[in-house]
């Protein structure tokens, strides 16, 4: 960025606003919280139910299981989606579930998003893969969204290229809405955010042909959430 270019641009704005240049302005404290009533009276189980209900209306199945039953949840998904190959986040939480062993048992080809591997090779593999698996940081009950904290072994293409996307979420991390997620993110700003944070709410959709709803035009057309109890 050329400093002179920027100065001229910003000075022009100040001039048009009819005042001296400002710097370091902070937003005021907003005196209303218009979202406050939306989750009033909901306990955590209520939030979980709202999360599940919202995703159901978006054609997204939520499988609520204990961590030790993750394999059964995967079984059910594999029954409804024919999948022979998988790519998944190289993430401690998925390793702790024993994902690699579970996928071995299903007899599918699978690879982690291993950053030590040649980038182009991993990308080519992912282009042809049928399922991506990741682990979400937060769930938002108001919308049924999951928040993915990408970076390193948590590759963004895992949730994007394959036609089926499976995301694990600990039910403890379900919060009411975007407001809590924004607070979570703000706390991380001083240490710098990852290059990409995603909020994903159901399958890729479009209404661009005569407003006729269709899934999977670019991103995954099928999404499953495995909600881990406890």
């Amino acid at each position: 960025m050329a400093a002179k270019e920027r100065e001229e641009f910003l000075n022009r704005i100040a001039g048009k606003l009819g005042r001296a240049r400002r710097s370091g302005v902070k937003p005021p404290r907003w005196d209303t919280k218009p979202y406050a009533h939306l989750h009033q009276g909901l306990d955590h189980e209520g939030l979980v139910q709202q999360f599940i209900g919202n995703l159901r209306t978006l054609q997204t199945e939520v499988l609520r299981v204990s961590p030790e039953d993750a394999g059964q949840a995967l079984d059910r998904i594999f029954e409804s989606a024919s999948v022979r190959s998988v790519v998944y986040w190289d993430d401690e939480r998925l390793h702790a579930i024993g994902l690699s062993r579970l996928l071995d048992e299903k007899g599918v080809v699978h690879r982690a998003w291993d950053t030590a591997v040649d980038e182009q090779e991993l990308r080519n593999y992912t282009v042809g893969v049928e399922m991506g698996i990741a682990y979400a940081e937060l769930g938002l009950s108001e919308t049924g969204s999951v928040m993915l904290w990408n970076g390193g072994g948590r590759g963004r293409l895992v949730s994007l290229l394959p036609p089926v996307f499976v995301v694990f979420l600990s039910e403890k991390t379900i919060v009411p809405r975007l407001t809590e997620a924004a607070e979570y993110i703000r706390e991380k700003v001083p240490a710098r955010l990852p290059a990409c944070v995603n909020f994903i709410t159901g399958p890729s959709r479009t209404g661009d042909i005569e407003m006729d709803l269709a899934f999977g035009v670019h991103g995954p057309g099928k999404v499953y959430v495995i909600l881990l109890k406890g």
């Binding site: 960025m1 270019e5 920027r6 001229e8 641009f9 910003l10 022009r12 704005i13 606003l17 009819g18 240049r21 710097s23 370091g24 302005v25 902070k26 937003p27 907003w30 209303t32 218009p34 979202y35 009533h37 939306l38 919202n54 998003w113 950053t115 938002l140 108001e142 919308t143 969204s145 990408n150 970076g151 963004r156 994007l160 407001t179 997620a181 700003v189 710098r192 955010l193 290059a195 990409c196 944070v197 995603n198 909020f199 994903i200 159901g202 399958p203 890729s204 959709r205 479009t206 209404g207 661009d208 042909i209 005569e210 407003m211 269709a214 999977g216 035009v217 670019h218 991103g219 995954p220």
Partner: protein, 473 residues
């Protein structure tokens, strides 16, 4: 700008003759408007949301220099490059320079109204760079060689049969007009383009100053592919499209998706903060942010300043009775509907766009739904006033209003004039209405009947009716 081969009234006539358009526009409007009303109902306190969103946007605009400074500092801290573009051609020049440096042969784009505003595709293609629009609607109209007809649903004027024909042409075989088959074809075709593209170009729904993030909202996921697969990502933003922090982002995003389609949130909301980090093996290696003025700063400090609050949701289009009948293309500019009628003359001048502020019945439905409370129909009146003051009205109209002003301030003459006009219009009138008016009256009577002027003025009628003084008894 000259995307318009026809003058305004020519474009309107064309739209009114287009049967497909006259079915598709109301259908889409009803769906999107219905969604918006349902979402507003579910919130229960939509006025409180609108007030807060409007305050946030106004605060940001009033301190735009400071927040842009903070944003650009943070984009650079994140490892991104920032370019300022006072004009459309500056923005184009930045993109062309980057494309040249990267030796780019193809560029994949996700939907961006700002890139339409600067006519980027045309310029890239002139340099021999292939441009592929990846939003399904944008892809359809790109194949058809047309421009978007709606902010949110750019291809609503196309039927599935037309889409099937366009796609069959690309496929070299006949595709059915089933939505699923057409989408599958677009997925495969565009996926190949994504994987091969050298540069991805996106717009920017909101930038967040405190973290130097660019936030993109999409339902299809094409914005994610555009900003992840190519080695270089260029985001182009109108200079007003930012918020101070994530706290404000929460509110404006909540309003944007609910107002646009009625969704509580879009399928994808992606925040990108610079290029990939050293530990990443996906995402762009280079990130460029181009910040565009192109006439926006001239709006600051004027009666029109509030238009810069706009978050491009399209809610005003979906309630507009004029848009309903003429669709997006008739407006001629990049931005259509009430927001287009306010914004286009500001960005491009009255000379070419003087009719737009009159493409409104001033019913105020747009103002009522605007999630950031832009007084759209007041601004249309403001435009009409400015056009008159700046001489953009015909001499007949000026003379007529001058005469009317004189008569209404002279009651005696006014009474005489009313009687005279009643008598003078006798030969034109059929059962009390005039169906075909002469001269300037034709502008009215071409589309509706004009009641014949009354025999007497109201004051005279009142006097006779009450038989007393001017105040009655």
């Amino acid at each position: 700008m000259s995307v318009q081969p026809l003058e305004f009234f020519g474009r309107v006539d064309k739209a009114l003759m287009d049967e497909q358009l006259r079915k598709a526009v109301p259908f889409t409007q009803d769906r999107l408007r219905g969604g918006r009303f349902q979402a507003a109902d579910e919130l229960g306190n939509v006025e409180e949301w609108r007030n807060l969103a409007a305050q946030i946007r106004m605060h940001t605009i009033e301190n735009l220099d400071s927040y842009l400074e903070q944003l650009t500092d943070n984009v650079e801290k994140n490892g991104g490059h920032v370019h300022f573009a006072p004009t459309a051609s500056d923005a184009v020049a930045h993109v062309l320079r980057i494309a040249k440096e990267k030796n780019a042969r193809s560029v994949v784009k996700s939907k961006s109204m700002v890139s339409e505003e600067i006519h980027l595709n045309k310029h890239l293609e002139a340099e021999g760079v292939r441009v592929i629009e990846s939003d399904l609607g944008e892809y359809i109209i790109q194949l058809a060689g047309e421009t978007p007809s709606h902010l949110i649903a750019p291809a609503i004027h196309k039927t599935r049969t037309q889409v099937a024909e366009l796609f069959s042409g690309v496929a070299g075989r006949t595709l059915s007009d089933a939505t699923a088959e057409l989408c599958q074809f677009a997925r495969e075709e565009l996926r190949r383009e994504f994987l091969e593209a050298d540069i991805g170009i996106s717009g920017c729904n909101f930038a967040v100053a405190e973290s130097g993030s660019i936030v993109l909202i999409s339902n299809e996921g094409n914005a994610r592919l555009t900003t992840t697969l190519p080695k270089v990502h260029i985001a182009i933003m109108g200079m007003e499209r930012l918020v101070p922090t994530w706290e404000e982002l929460d509110i404006v995003v909540s309003m944007l998706t609910r107002s646009a389609t009625g969704q509580k949130i879009s399928v994808y909301m992606t925040a990108m903060s610079g290029p990939r980090r050293p530990e990443d093996i996906d995402g762009p290696e280079e990130f460029h942010l181009i910040i565009l003025d192109n006439g926006r700063s001239d709006i600051l400090g004027t009666a029109y300043q509030e238009v810069l609050k706009c978050i491009r949701c399209g809610a005003c289009l979906n309630v507009c009775p004029v848009y309903r009948h003429i669709g997006g293309h008739a407006y001629g500019g990049v931005y259509s509907g009430p927001i287009g009628a306010v914004l286009t003359p500001l960005l491009e001048g009255y000379e070419e766009w003087k009719e737009l502020p009159y493409a409104s019945s001033l019913c105020g439905a747009c103002t009522e739904v605007c999630p950031v409370k832009i007084p759209l129909h007041d601004l249309l009146i403001e435009h009409r006033k400015d056009e008159v003051e700046n001489g953009f009205t015909s001499w007949q109209e000026k003379l007529a209003f001058k005469g009317f002003g004189y008569l209404t301030s002279h009651p005696f003459l006014y009474d005489k004039a009313v009687r005279a006009s009643h008598m003078a219009t006798g030969w034109l009138s059929n059962e009390g209405v005039i169906e075909t008016g002469p001269g300037p009256l034709a502008g009215w009577t071409n589309v509706r009947d004009l009641p014949r002027p009354a025999k007497q003025s109201f004051r005279e009628w009142w006097k006779n009716e009450k038989g007393g003084g001017p105040r009655g008894s």
